[in-house]
């Protein structure tokens, strides 16, 4: 597979993975908040709501993609000029890119755009979703070490 195409596939796969995982985490956080109010949420209801919330993907995908494009370009420079484990760099970059974006959005809009990230745990879980995306991207593009 040509290098350029490999990066495109890596970016698309990473974006999709992070968006799905992030959406799932966010839904669990929202349900957890409801359960803290003694609201009963059976497993079937939880699953149904989790699947239904994937409806946010059309709005989430472009944002995550932009995060990763910026984050992975910066990572390419870090790998080249600082060195170290390329996969580790991308894992960190994925997490940092997602968390930074959410914090910037909150600073601009003065609200938390994704309810599941209102708590520190929710924010970190979204960062974890970003880290998974970074790992996916690194693995798919691992044979093109000179690239981003």
């Amino acid at each position: 597979m040509p290098n350029f195409l490999r990066h495109i596939v890596g970016l698309v796969t990473a974006t999709l993975t992070t968006s799905v995982v992030g959406s799932v985490f966010s839904t669990q956080s929202v349900i957890s908040s409801l359960q803290s109010l003694d609201v009963d949420v059976p497993l079937a209801t939880r699953l149904s709501m989790t699947v239904g919330d994937l409806a946010i993907l059309p709005s989430l995908l472009p944002i995550v993609a932009m995060c990763f494009i910026v984050g992975f370009i910066v990572t390419a420079f870090c790998v080249r000029y600082i060195g170290g484990n390329r996969t580790a760099w991308h894992i960190v970059a994925g997490a940092v890119a997602l968390i930074t974006t959410l914090l910037i959005v909150k600073a601009v809009l003065l609200i938390t755009a994704i309810a599941g990230t209102r708590s520190l745990l929710g924010l970190l879980s979204f960062g974890f979703a970003g880290a998974i995306g970074g790992w996916v991207y690194a693995k798919i593009t691992t044979q093109t070490s000179a690239g981003i």
Partner: protein, 368 residues
Amino acid sequence: MKKLSVTLLLLTGLASAAINAQHSATETDDYYTSVVASGFDQAWAHEFLPNGDILVTERVGNIKVVRDGKILSQAVSNVPESYYAGQGGLLDIMLDSDFSNNRTVYLSYAFGSPDGNATRLISATLDASGDSYSLDNINTLFTASPLIQTPQHYSGRIAQMDDGSLLLTIGDGFDYREQAQRLDSHLGKIIRINRDGSVPADNPFVAQQGAKPEIWSYGHRNHQSLVIADGVVYQNEHGPKGGDEVNIIEAGLNYGWPVITQGRDYNGASVTPYTEYPDMQQPLVDWTPSIAPSSMTFHLNKLYVTSLAEESIHMLTTDGETINDQGIVFEAIEGRIRDISVGLDNHLYVLTDGDQAELIKITQTRLK
């Protein structure tokens, strides 16, 4: 005689031109509108004084005075500083039901700083001196707790019950929505206090351990309307993406947010899997998609609800137990509409939104 007719015709034409210059009017078969005053910056509420002056609150922190169709150069002085950010700032104004004797006004506003802010209610006396007004004897009656760190969803609408006690809507602070269900928090509630800020002994949660005694109803999101008519308390509230509601409020009841709603988060995600749940009240009117209801008034046995997003006024009929949306009226009024009330002349007045807000009078030619 001919000369007299021509003179009268000229005078009539000149008078008409002069009126049109001051008040741009729009006319339909059933009503016409005229701009009373314009140029308000982020107007939020208005109130009519017995002498005909109109007080208009601006969210930026001013109370402007409209007299004879003009905004006086001097705003009401000694207005407490409010926290102007997001949806915060100076909000509602209401005269006490015994204003002609006690000159008392009530103001709600966002109080605090980015690190900690809240909806606050004060009382003050409105002193008149020459052409100007000032606030005096300012008393803080209530400040919502806990403080929040998002400048959103203050609500802040004030109403007065027949016994003189005050109702105030407190929003959920946006990021704190679950607190609307917690009785140890004022967020997402309607609170009821006496004129002096004390708690009425018959409030529903006075005797409940850990509950805020001021709470009168709970499970609300961002409720910017509160109207009492014939002893019935009507309220409406913004849902998120969908789920705008009109409710009849009764003491001690749970109106569901965020456990039940027809709305979804702005990004499309679920707020909750439920649209109904035991012991939670269903709205009497639901607007999905949202119209963003901003204000409401009761006039000639009908409720009128203004909207920001739909840029409209809805007329609703009610028998005190049910409410039916009759649809949009006064379509000639354009733009986001912030506030509506009934003037001393028994006509409707609306305030538009934005940095060049207008106060518009609606004259109904076929009152029903």
